[in-house]
């Protein structure tokens, strides 16, 4: 069977110490033998490492920051489309997702497919609504309080025991151990991300994440559970292993069913010492460790492309446990002229690489 030629744009090429999923998604797509791919990197920053990874990314374009709005993004993507003839776009940043959802119908009119959840689906599972979502769907989650003023903290202190987490309404979380710290972080987070500030009970245990894919009709196409084996100071998994646990797959199936989730997702759990699974967070996209799913014999990004292109997709019914990843950092050597070209012209192609330093022994 001949391979399908596709040009796919991918965002989040920031393969740094707190990595975006883009490079992992591209590695997964490259591993799929059904496709003959041209990968177009879509980058917000000039230093996103994926821009310079010419073995994975054919050409990269810079796009305006999400804060510039969906019209700016659409204009830039349609320009890229006029040059590259895009078939599909996979956005991988939380912050850009709503812009992409907004412009998806227009992209489709131009022949560019996506596989994205609805804006309402994202709202249902965001930090502000996760507690309610879990209560409604009989899922366990740590006790959570939403507070709008410092006065409320004192009243709440009878209800929880330190340490607890203090979280911004969009990003950032800090572990606090006393009243002084909670007040300080309330001020910091409310100033940065607005109100309310979230206080969440801290649960001890092991961190388990699930990467999954839903078809938008309530069906789970695949899911791989992973236990974090090594966690960095900033809380990111640096190593993990695929688990064999049918209960985790059933939770993923339930999530896909009740949300009718369309696209990739990540469920973050804490398994408490008494073996209770607590849902901590849902990310509306594939995780950075998504390439591990390929090793476990479920290529979820490739399946997402097939779903979005209306190609036949058979849901995965098995996977291999015991596959493990260890993330690593190394220095990719390029030339300053590549950086100059990308930062001034907003485009960098594999063909135009001025030096072949990477091939030298």
């Amino acid at each position: 069977m001949s391979k399908q030629e596709l040009t796919i744009a991918v965002t989040a090429l920031n393969a740094i110490d707190n990595p975006g999923p883009g490079v992992g998604v591209i590695r997964s797509l490259r591993a799929c033998e059904d496709f003959d791919l041209k990968i177009v990197g879509v980058s917000y920053e000039t230093m996103e490492p994926g821009v310079y990874m010419h073995d994975l990314v054919d050409i990269s374009y810079q796009v305006p920051y999400p804060s510039a709005g969906s019209d700016q993004l659409l204009n830039r993507l349609l320009y890229i489309h006029s040059v590259e003839k895009l078939d599909f776009i996979i956005p991988n940043f939380d912050a850009e997702l709503r812009n992409f959802i907004k412009i998806a119908p227009t992209l489709r009119q131009h022949g560019i497919q996506t596989l994205l959840p609805d804006a309402d689906m994202i709202t249902t599972i965001d930090k502000m609504h996760l507690f309610e979502f879990c209560e409604k769907n009989d899922l366990s989650t740590p006790k959570t309080w939403y507070i709008n003023s410092i006065d409320e903290i004192e009243k709440l202190e009878d209800e929880f025991e330190y340490p607890v987490f203090v979280k911004g309404s969009f990003y950032e979380a800090y572990k606090v151990v006393n009243h002084g710290q909670i007040v300080a972080y309330f001020n910091k987070l409310s100033a940065k991300w607005g109100l309310p500030v979230i206080i969440q009970e801290m649960v001890q245990g092991t961190e388990i994440d699930i990467a999954g894919l839903g078809d938008g009709k309530g069906n789970l196409i695949g899911a791989i559970p992973m236990r974090k084996l090594f966690i960095t100071d900033s809380g990111k998994g640096w190593s993990g292993v695929v688990l064999e646990d049918t209960s985790l797959i059933e939770i993923s199936r339930k999530f896909a069913e009740v949300t009718k989730w369309r696209g990739g997702f990540e469920l973050e759990f804490m398994r408490s010492e008494d073996n209770k699974l607590m849902l901590l967070e849902v990310n509306p996209r594939f995780p950075a460790w998504i390439y591990l799913t390929v090793a476990a014999e479920q290529n979820l990004p490739a399946a997402a492309i097939k779903l979005g292109m209306n190609l036949p997709v058979t849901p995965y019914d098995k996977y291999i446990s015991g596959k493990m990843f260890v993330r690593y950092a190394w220095e990719l050597i390029t030339d300053i002229t590549e950086f100059q070209k990308f930062s001034t012209q907003g485009v960098l192609s594999r063909e135009e690489t001025p030096l072949k330093i990477q091939q030298k022994k």
């Binding site: 084996l229 688990l243 015991g322």
Partner: protein, 82 residues
């Protein structure tokens, strides 16, 4: 007693619990005992094999084997036949 199905025992004597992601390294004698458990050897026959091979008093063997098997059960690595 059987080793649970999601437990893998490597040749190098490491147990991997595929359900929890926990790994445990064991010493060579413990690895031999695990092999015996995998072969469904009854506890009394395990003792005979070990005492034939190693210089150990029956009391010490009883105590150590009891502790080891209890530890395996505590870690949820084995299931006990009813």
């Amino acid at each position: 007693m059987n080793i649970k199905k999601h437990i893998a025992v490597s040749e190098s004597g490491v147990l991997f619990n595929g359900s929890t992601g926990d790994s445990f390294s064991v010493n060579p004698i413990a690895a031999e005992i695990l092999e015996m458990i995998k072969s469904n050897l009854p506890e009394e026959e395990m003792k005979i094999k070990i005492s034939d091979k190693y210089d150990v008093t029956p009391e010490r063997l009883d105590g150590d084997l009891y502790d080891f098997l209890a530890h395996l059960r505590q870690l949820n690595l084995v299931e006990v036949d009813e």
